[in-house]
Amino acid sequence: MNKIVSLICGIIFGIGLVISQMVNPEKVLGFLNIFRDWDPSLAFVMIGALVVSAPIFHLFKNKNKPLFSSNFSIPTNKEIDKKLIIGSVFFGAGWGLIGLCPGPAITSIALFNVSSAIFVVAMFFGFYIASKVK
């Protein structure tokens, strides 16, 4: 069941990225362009996601176990360290350069866009370097 859930959740997430237009880098850059012509839409993506995920998380986090798995796995790291800040600065810079973050980048593979495919390969290379450095 775990595997079917993973596939279905991926599909729902991917459709959400398309409908919200997060998958369109121009839309993302428009959101980040607050000093000129600002497109506030993506704030609504976040609001829409949080009004569902936040209450559900807090309703279920103290339950014994998830339906199809032996235990909940919730991040425990609370440290505000250099890695968190430097990593977020790097990510923000890359995000602002093209307008793609990991989810939309992977989803855009379905659109056969050469530019986004190059980005995805570079991104996976970045994942790999980070796994060696950390």
Binding site: S20, S53, L97, A110, F119, M123, A130
Partner: protein, 139 residues
Amino acid sequence: MNIVNFTPLSALSGGLLIGLSVALFFILNGRMIGISGIASNFIVSKENRIENFLFLIGLIAGPLIYNLISGNEINISISSSVILLIIAGILVGFGTRLSNGCTSGHGISGISRFSIRSIIATITFMLVGIITVFITGIV
């Protein structure tokens, strides 16, 4: 500042679906979704590899299924040079793993948990994204 291309309804409905995906994955599989984590664990870790792989396949199948049902074409345009794409891709891949989260992992899952770490990460990458767009708009 001018407000342009504002599409609150499609943004909100897409957002609700993303939230639904995060909520279901948590209730059923017990994990909080972070795409950079799922994608990078798929290549560097054996744990949950099949689940991570299937999630990624679902992400890619999403637009195809949407296209089948709605009949709407999905068009994106990226006009950046190859060098810039590679630099940005590496920054996004490396940065999200160093900070353990991206727009989904920190921005949605982390903020849903009211994690201070994630709130700080989200503010940081948004601010740096805004500054980057501001600078690239000048040069």
